[in-house]
Symmetry: C2
Subunit: 415 residues, 2 copies
């Protein structure tokens, strides 16, 4: 699809994408927006021009600080809005006077708009669904001969994370401090983390609630998934290894997690469906599913030292996931756990089979034993102060490209 | 303090208590309430009578579905409201006409008012701070000779729980189902839990936020704690033991947790301050504290089979906690994790030194090996279908009694 708005060939924000986010629009406050190329489209502005009147939407439906209410209206509503936007911005579909009005009322240069947290996250869950990641971690910290724990191929292992400290791309986070237990010391010490890491993840956004006590089947699961974002589950490895038994990671993770600002709908990701890895042994019936439930989404992590160029440190793909999102959601609710609109479910670190596709510094440098050489001559075992970690992701097939933009975070020295 | 409202001698809701909750008031909707004896006081009604005018409160400040906004006004505001209520309901402090007006506008029989979730919980954290509980669990599931893990005496171990499935006392919850791995089987099976348990806990409610990146010291911690509730962290032990490595409990807990509806302020609990157990080895400086930070609060669990009488199965006390709330909060934020008003922090199961003071069926029946005899001739290893689990708690000292009411939940058969 071509648009009368300029779209560069490698833009994540094609006419096929039309994601949703919250932008801070000067003079209008927080509004629901979408993006085509480098142009942010204020949907409140489009509503003022009457484009959504026939759907029963009011201007105030788009003047919102978060997307939760909008998402609650249902995936069909969002789909209709996307279609209207596509029609309106299609090349030669609008008259010169319409275009002039739209430009005046609703279009902004992306570089001038601050993007905010897209949703109020009620609960955030993180899974652990990449077999390569779980195997790598098991080899490093437990038994190389039995790297995967006995439950791993039966359960999409997951745990609850902290919702309050999820921040949107562009955040600056101070290096966290906490308890670390040096191997040579009898007691723990108090210190800034010396092993600050990223975890390359995606997260899906819940679009529909289920009542407490009801389960969501794998067949129904995608009705409950509104869309996806990139997710950087920042982790302090030295704090984690001391604190995590027996109840799991806590302060090693909850100082900050970073998401990309644009929620890319499942509709937009439809062209990139694919099969996932085979699952052996066969999973229990409630985890079985029909059809292609993985998505071929290229993922990338770059590190940018201050005033230096970016370096790609990881190239992975969402298709490597052993457990797919439908299975994760079916498992999460099999006991009747209730989901709410805006809840986030992280994939867990997405590592691929090759060493360059590992999704964390822990794996890429094999616990710091194989540092990554940077173009400026320095090296990285983990993340340094003043490094910016940049995650990108996109699907590309048959000339269609749909991407997520960036989830980036700068690490400041300890406060 | 005596009141012109009748208060039975063993009431949890003395004039010294004056807790806060949300009641559903016929004709007025959801309102902030307090309680004296068996009388619920609608604070919106009191506001209509002008009792809070001089504090700058409007009637609409009390017509709220949750307490979050009210709590955000600060502990001093809540304290002033409590003082006004105490003055107004003090014996012989009100004229006959005042009393008649108050009765008409603001008083309700507690049995006629449905109490609702008192707060919108942003994040819920559960600690693991009873040394007796951690030791018992370690003896049963790990190594009896080294029951406490190496980090336990250094860290108030905690993890994130599910906020969406926290329900208020009076809830009915279906027995959850999930994956269980029988010892005799190579693979897990799908089954209703056969080891449904309670965990006797309290939780504190956050009353003030800290910005992301800032820590709260033990000296400041109580400024951030608005009050406390009883907390039943329902647990499916067979699901838990299969799923919990390496990332902690998940579906074994997130099907429901139950809180008591009245938030008892720290002010009201002041008379019950006491010292906690000594901590050896010495904790790191950020966990050290001054003064009495534990509270002498009697706790009790009863099981009530359907149409049968209640049986006390556990008698414990909040004073047994090894790690106090100030230490928990200082630890939780030492990495800069941000708290929001309404967040809940659970104590973890509160077990005492004696076998009758254990805070879970797991410990009371020692993994089901020592069933509890019930008066009707049946026995309990864990919780049966149609059992109601009732938790109660109160402090009592120098003629003052301040209590929490009940956190109860009925277990229905699997759905």
């Amino acid at each position: 699809m071509k648009s009368w708005i300029e779209i560069e060939a490698d833009s994540d924000f094609s006419m096929e994408n039309i994601p949703f986010g919250i932008g801070l629009i000067q003079g209008n406050g927080k509004c629901i927006c979408t993006r085509i190329g480098d142009t942010v489209i204020d949907l409140a502005g489009m509503a003022r021009l009457g484009y959504f009147d026939h759907l029963g939407f009011k201007v105030s439906d788009f003047e919102k600080p978060v997307l939760n209410d909008f998402i609650s209206k249902g995936k069909k509503s969002a789909s209709r809005i996307r279609t209207i936007i596509q029609e309106c911005f299609m090349e030669s579909n609008s008259s010169d006077s319409d275009m002039a009005l739209i430009k005046q009322m609703a279009l902004h240069n992306a570089s001038e708009i601050q993007m905010l947290m897209p949703v109020l996250v009620g609960d955030y869950t993180d899974f652990y669904s990449s077999i390569e990641h779980a195997t790598n971690v098991g080899m490093m910290f437990r038994d190389p001969a039995n790297a995967l724990l006995p439950n791993w191929r039966h359960i999409p292992v997951g745990y609850h994370g902290r919702a309050s400290s999820i921040v949107v791309s562009g955040a600056e986070i101070h290096r966290p401090k906490g308890q670390i237990k040096p191997a040579t010391s009898e007691f723990p010490v108090f210190s800034p983390t010396m092993q600050l890491d990223f975890e390359l993840e995606t997260a899906f956004v819940i679009g529909k609630e289920n009542p407490l006590g009801d389960s969501i089947s794998t067949a129904e699961a995608e009705e409950y998934i509104f869309g996806m974002v990139l997710f950087n589950d920042l982790s302090a490895r030295d704090i984690q290894s001391w604190e995590y038994v027996p109840l799991g990671p806590f302060l090693s993770k909850n100082f900050a997690s970073v998401i990309s600002p644009w929620i890319v709908t499942l509709d937009a990701l439809e062209p990139f469906r694919c099969n996932g890895p085979g699952q052996q042994p066969e999973v229990l019936p409630y985890l079985q599913f029909d059809g292609e439930r993985n998505f071929d989404i290229n993922l990338q992590v770059r590190i940018k030292p201050e005033n230096k160029e970016e370096t790609i440190v990881s190239k992975s793909n969402f298709k490597y996931m052993y457990w797919n999102m439908s299975q994760q959601l079916a498992h999460h609710t099999i006991n009747g756990c209730n989901m709410r609109v805006g809840d986030l479910c992280g994939s867990g670190t997405i590592s691929g089979p090759d060493a360059e596709s590992y999704g964390s510094m822990l794996e890429l440098t094999w616990k710091g034993t194989k540092p990554i050489a940077m173009p400026d001559g320095s090296e990285r075992k983990f993340i340094n102060d003043n490094d910016t970690v940049i995650m990108r992701g996109f699907g590309k097939k048959d000339g269609i490209r749909v991407g997520f933009g960036e989830a980036n975070v700068k690490i400041l020295p300890v406060k």
